[in-house]
Structure formats: C-alpha cells, structure tokens
Symmetry: C2
Subunit: 199 residues, 2 copies
C-alpha cells in the first residue's frame, strides 16, 4: 500500500472541516490511509512569523463571509458559524492523541464529534466539561476523557506533532502532504485527486 | 444586462493569469461583462497591514511550488515560472488604463500580452522598452505606448483604482467582486460559477 496521506489541521479550522469528507473519499479511492495530525495552528504561525489571518481585519471580514458561503458550497446544510473563533484546541488535540494511542477508530470518531460540536452546534470545544460530553458521543468514558486531556501522552504527542508541522513548513489548515508534496486548503481537493491519480 | 464583474489583479500574479480564461468563460455564459482592474498589490497589502506572502519564507516555498503545479493543473502547458517575482507592475497597469480610455479591446489585448510575456517567456514586464515591444504585439505604436506609460491619465487611473481596491478590502489577486460579494483566488472559480448561476 502506498504511503499514508498526512492531514495537518486545527480543530477550529472551518476549511479542515469542509475538506474532511472529500479527502477521505479520495484517499479511499486511491488506496491510501490518512494520518490525522491535529496541531495548534497559532503555534505554527508564530514559529514561521505568520500573522494569523483572522487577526488581520480586512482578511477576517473576507474569511468570515467565505467560510459561511463555502459551507453551503460544500453541501454542509447544518453549518453554524462558530461564535468562538479563534479558540484554543489544545485539550481536544491532546485527547485525540491519547485515544489514538490505543484505538485509531475511536480517535477519529472523537475528532468527528469535535468538528460537529464546533461547526454545527457552536459548542465550546476549548472547555474540559464540554469535551467530556463530546467524547461520550464517541463512546469514551468521562474518566478516560479527563485523563486523556490532562495526561502526559496527549500533551507530548501534540507538542511533537506541532514541532513536526513547523519542520514540515505547514502554513495553514488543512495542510495535506502526499509523498512529500504539500497541498493547502479545502480548495485543493481537485488537485489532490488529480495528483493521486498520477501515483 | 446584470452588473459587470470586477476583476482586481496584479499583472505579476500567477493566480490571476490562471483564472483569466475561466472567469471570462463564466462571465460570458452568464451574460456579464468583466471590468479589468489592474492594481499594485503591494500598495494594497501595505494599506491593510498584510505581509506579502512571497516575503514570508515558509509561504514563499509553498507558493513557488504551488504556482508551477497549478499552471499544469489549469492546462497551461507553456508556463514558465517568472524569475522576477515580485516585481513592479506600475508601468504595465498605467499603460493598460491609458489604452482603456480609448479602446477596451486593445487594452485587454495588451493585458493578455503582458501576462503571456511574463508567464510564458519570462520577460521583464517592469521594463519600459520591453513593454513597448509587448504593446506592439497588441497593435499599439511605440509612441502611444511610451506616452501611455508616462502620461497623467494612466497614472491617475492606477492610483484611483488602487485606492478603490483598498476601500473594497481587496486582500489578494485575483479578487473578484460579483454584485458586491468578493471571491479570492483562482480556486474560487467553481464557487463563482455556482454563485452566478443563482443570479
């Protein structure tokens, strides 16, 4: 089987949410696994000296409108634009990595629940209690959820993956790497399909 | 006829070049004119406090590769990545506006020759003598070309249009406005088609 596709993203990134189903479809079609790599995008921006787009007023106005329009364009009928954006996703990402240590399917189910909670119900995915409820929807007990968010495994893995993103020169979310070649943004899906068909 | 589509762009923007044929096709299909609005993107970035992407090392590396890949993806077989990027496009834009004052078709023909010169032959489109040759390919005499580049009409129009771009909160190139709604980038063509079909 060909090498897995790396999918770097931040759980607070609407464009990552918009891209997820399409990337999974393309990966399956071309016999690739996807390695989910949630990161802290603000830390990556900081390391590269990039101003977060949502902190530049003219860009923020455009992206707020584009996110809502793109949700409709991508067929996400139940999209609700988050009122908390940007927000810190370190607890969600740490729990993701902790779950992944024992079971990738549960980690992915939890990740999908985080996205749904943030982008269809406007829940506060930075909050520990909210994340415990979100994790329960993926079948994770509240004690496992709390331990995962606060334990050493998730913390160390998130730090390592954010460092990997910096050395891979990630500049946004979603950031997809196929056989060493990076693709940025939900709107690169057609090029990703085209690229995968060549391999 | 519905209102024209505004197409803000910088002559040195590969993504503007990649989008041009597609936007023209969509505009024609939906009975719209396109108002070409060449601007100085660096001046717009400066006004908005945006760091030019090509000056951020990690972004530059990505975009250099993405531009070459996107050219192939968009079917531009004779693309040559410019060795002079970024460069100043004020002379080209001034001459464009001067020509447009008397004849839009000649101005567009000149604009297309500027794009071809820069993106398929790596010519120096900041240089006055080179621009005289480029203008000749669009049927413009060398005296008209020199006067257009250096005269008051083109200078004033470019300044006015760059100011309009700032007040329209343009953040990149190409920047397309349809009935007041902005779309950024060559990869928004599918959404532009979808939006035009609704009007």
């Amino acid at each position: 089987m060909a090498a897995p596709i790396s999918l770097y993203f931040d759980f607070a990134s609407p464009y990552a949410y918009f891209a997820l189903d399409g990337i999974e479809r393309l990966a399956e079609m071309h016999g690739r696994d996807i390695q989910w790599r949630p990161i802290l995008l603000w830390a990556v921006f900081k390391a590269h000296g990039i101003a977060p787009p949502m902190e530049v007023p003219a860009k923020r106005e455009y992206f707020e409108a584009d996110m809502k329009r793109s949700a409709t364009f991508h067929g996400i009928g139940d999209y609700r634009h988050p009122t908390r954006l940007p927000l810190s996703t370190h607890r969600a990402a740490r729990l993701f990595y902790d779950l992944q240590g024992s079971d990738t399917a549960t980690a992915h189910a939890f990740g999908r629940e985080v996205f749904s909670a943030f982008f269809t119900r406007d829940e506060d995915i930075s909050d520990e209690e909210t994340l415990v409820e979100i994790a329960a929807r993926a079948g994770v007990s509240s004690s496992d959820a709390r331990n995962g968010m606060n334990g050493e495994t998730g913390r160390a893995q998130l730090a390592a993956m954010t460092d990997a993103a910096i050395s891979d020169k990630v500049c946004g979310s979603p950031w997809i790497i196929i056989d060493g070649e990076p693709f940025f943004g939900a709107d690169r899906l057609p090029q990703i399909g085209w690229r995968l068909a060549m391999t």
